[in-house]
């Protein structure tokens, strides 16, 4: 019985990850004259792309360093020290993940001259620091305070702190690697900020611009250039993810432990508050304030901002984009449900038997979203698929394919945390349940799932947030047309900042929907990160 959900999950991965990527890969080696690797030779020798690849690595390293500073700094100060307000500030560390990086960039650009490499690194560092914050906090939580105390008594504070650093290193590095992956895959923010002359461009920008060759080109090399050019990036990301997974596997949270003792900051107690405040105000505060100002009419010259304008902006947003907002919420919820259905059996298998499942699950994250999207178009707009649609309805032109595509894209954000949670479950509970003679389904629903519920809910919140802010897949898939983030990117470009500000705030509120519901329905207090 356990095999059925696992088989369904594998079928989903085959249909929405393997098939589309295989279609694109075959496309890249199938020239009109037969099998050919000529496109690989041409693209991989391109000096411009090589330069962009190095620029991406530089940006990735600097932004990750900043993400570590903000993310680890936030986690350490709020979890480990007597920082004022640590209990409240700690859980807020994940909040910058709610704001799409392009909104952070737009927010900063509205009042400061943010351009070029360093600004880009800073903003991306802020945007992706939550990965470091969450995993560092998890690392700190996984350490038995008694070990630290023993080190402190035996060797003094310095060696005890070094021991602590060694113990949280795997989780912290894993967080940094996740941040690195997102930074080097990002093309919107570098393009938005690379404005002063020909200074530098990232590899993701280069690959993105190659997609236009698919439209304008005639030669096989041109048509497949984006697929081929994506390959080095995919390999780099898979390598980083494999390392991240190995690192994460080395740490685990056990039930029989004591928390780390709180460290006193002394006279640095209040000054240390600056770091979390800068992190949260940069990652969330600035974009939210700027969007609110836009909604109030700040971009219209010679017209004071007003509450009436705010009302008008929200009215306009609801009238023109209310349908998009509903579609976006529907897609977000469907993505979350589908992904949980797929990720739970995969995570269960990954926890008990094989880390290989985890490694495979991260592939969709390594592949550029546009590549996955065009692969899906190839497969699901195929004339063979059309025969099925005649009986079942047009899946290709439906929200269903968007939700499935998003679920495939965010697969690791379901599988990895759930596998990690599943590893922490004591095996003897399920074994005891099995001895009672009840079937696998009953054991799953009565024992396994209730124990996994907190992890399932955390994953659901994360997936929901990511689904609301996904743009690249929304651009490629027809039904992605009706999403808020796609409309937002247009509205702002064409001078509709009033409505754009209101729409962005609606999107942020929608992203907080699940976490807020948790608080309202369960009455639980804010919990520390992780």
């Amino acid at each position: 019985m356990r095999r059925v959900p696992y088989a369904i999950a594998l079928g989903f991965c085959a249909a929405f990850v393997l098939l589309p990527l295989l279609a694109m890969l075959l496309d890249s080696v199938r020239s009109p004259s037969g099998f050919s690797l000529a496109a690989y030779g041409t693209i991989l020798q391109d000096a411009t792309l090589r330069g962009q690849f190095l620029a991406s690595l530089e940006l990735g390293l600097v932004a990750t360093l900043l993400a570590w500073l903000f993310g680890f700094g936030h986690a350490y100060l709020t979890f480990r020290t007597d920082l004022p307000g640590a209990r409240w500030l700690g859980p807020l560390g994940i909040l910058p993940l709610v704001v799409p990086p392009i909104l952070v960039a737009m927010g900063f650009a509205d009042f400061a001259d943010v351009k070029g490499f360093w600004s880009c690194a800073l903003l991306l560092g802020l945007s992706y620091a939550p990965f470091v914050a969450v995993l560092s906090a998890r690392g700190l939580r996984s350490i038995d305070g008694r070990l630290y105390e023993a080190g402190l008594i035996a060797r003094g504070r310095g060696p005890a702190e070094r021991l602590l650093a060694r113990m949280i290193l795997p989780e912290m590095l894993a967080g940094c690697l996740f941040a690195f992956i997102f930074v080097i895959s990002e093309h919107g923010v570098p393009e938005f900020l690379t404005v002063k002359g020909k200074t530098w461009h990232t590899y993701a920008e280069g690959v993105f611009s190659l997609w236009t060759r698919r439209a304008t080109g005639v030669l096989h090399e041109d048509l497949v250039s984006p697929t081929v050019a994506s390959l080095p990036l995919v390999l780099l990301i898979v390598l980083a993810l494999a390392i991240a997974l190995r690192l994460r596997a080395r740490s685990s949270v056990r039930g029989d432990q004591q928390p780390l003792p709180i460290r006193t900051l002394g006279r640095w107690r209040w000054p240390a508050l600056l770091l979390p405040l800068f992190y949260l105000s940069g990652g969330v505060g600035v974009p939210v304030v700027v969007m609110a100002r836009w909604a109030a009419g700040s971009t219209v010259v010679n017209q004071p901002m007003s509450i009436d304008q705010v009302r008008e902006s929200f009215r306009l947003a609801w009238t023109e984009a209310g349908g998009d907002l509903r579609s976006t919420l529907w897609i977000g919820m469907a993505t979350t449900l589908i992904l949980l259905f797929v990720a739970l059996p995969l995570a269960r298998r990954a926890a008990r038997r094989s880390g290989f499942v985890e490694l495979v699950s991260v592939v969709p994250l390594a592949v550029p979203a546009i590549l996955l999207g065009i692969g899906l178009v190839h497969v699901y707009n195929h004339p063979l698929a059309a025969r099925a649609y005649a009986h079942l309805g047009d899946f290709y032109d439906s929200f269903g394919i968007v939700a499935c595509a998003y679920a495939a894209r965010f697969l690791p954000f379901g599988v990895l945390p759930l596998a990690s949670a599943a590893r922490r479950l004591p095996e003897h509970l399920e074994e005891a349940a099995a001895l009672t003679g009840r079937g696998a389904a009953a054991r799953t629903f009565r024992i396994y799932l209730p124990l996994m519920l907190p992890a399932i809910w955390s994953s659901a919140c994360l997936i929901f947030i990511l689904a609301l802010r996904e743009l690249d897949l929304a651009v490629v898939l027809p039904a992605g047309n009706g999403t808020v983030v796609r409309r937002l990117s247009n509205v702002v470009h064409f001078g509709g900042e009033n409505m754009g500000g209101a729409l962005a705030l609606c999107l942020l509120l929608a992203a907080l929907l699940l976490p807020i519901l948790t608080l309202l329905l369960t009455g639980r207090k804010l919990r520390p990160l992780s």
């Binding site: 005639v218 259905f341 899946f395």
Partner: protein
Amino acid sequence: MRCAAAAALTLPLILAAGCGRDADVTLYVALDQTHSESLIEQFEEQSGLEVNARFDTEAAKTVGLVSAIIEESSRPRCDVFWNNELAQTVRLAQKGLLEAYDSPSAAGIPAAFKDEDALWTGFAARARILIVNTERIPESADYPKSMWDLLDPKWKGQCAVARPLTGTTLTHFTALRYVLGEAEFKRFIDGLFENEVVLLQSNGATMREVAAGKLAFAFTDTDDYHVALLKGHPVAAVFPDQEEGAPGTMLIPNSVSIIKGAPHPEAARKLVDWVLSEQTEAALAAARSAQIPVRSTVKGPEHESILQIGQFRAMEWDPKVTAENLEKMAAEFAERF
């Protein structure tokens, strides 16, 4: 067991619930959604046909709709492609993806804006103009007059163009290459770098930098310029290169075409007739995008600074040559910009 069955059923139910239904006609429209959405609603009301409209994003440019048409060519989903420029449409025609249709609504449109095989028809154009910040350059006599003013040391580091990798700037620069000739065009491009002309990611960005007073002037499109005007920014428009011997101002029309193998050909023709009607062109002129009608019989944009056809000299450019060389030039520009 019941729970398991319910869980197993939920996934297909979610997928089935998302399955779409067939509209009367599918339109891919690259003109900004804000501008085109209300017009499409008008068509639905007038014709009684339901339109499944798919819009592009400014950031995606050709990656969106043109790529979608190409990717879907084995089984076309789009009936009508309404592009906000011309070169990519001509490229689709050259790839054999468009169906000929000589719309009766296009009778009044000059031949220069129509394909000789009726694969596409141009209408409602944007001009490639210089947007000037009137606080930085108060006297109109001091305004730049030509694209060559970007190379004037007086404006070093104070003017901008969008990177010519996509959109209207790619079309503009590719057309310029064949209008000016290779040597002159190379001189122009080299001069942009020597004079530290600021390279931005889009025409919207060049407009914003000039509107905010960060730059003195820049190349942009008339629709972006009109947005700056509506927001009250101190800007003026210059239709460049009007003097004798200069190439003139480039005009880039919208274009509409029917996709070969369109699933709803009859409705597609009705939609094209409506898109090419004088009424639609007038509505586009009156909208925020302030498109310039290609027919002199249609009323143009309200604001006098956006000139009408006949009030300025338009650049003569060959859409076919431009489209044929778009890929080659895009690759060259990608190396330099």
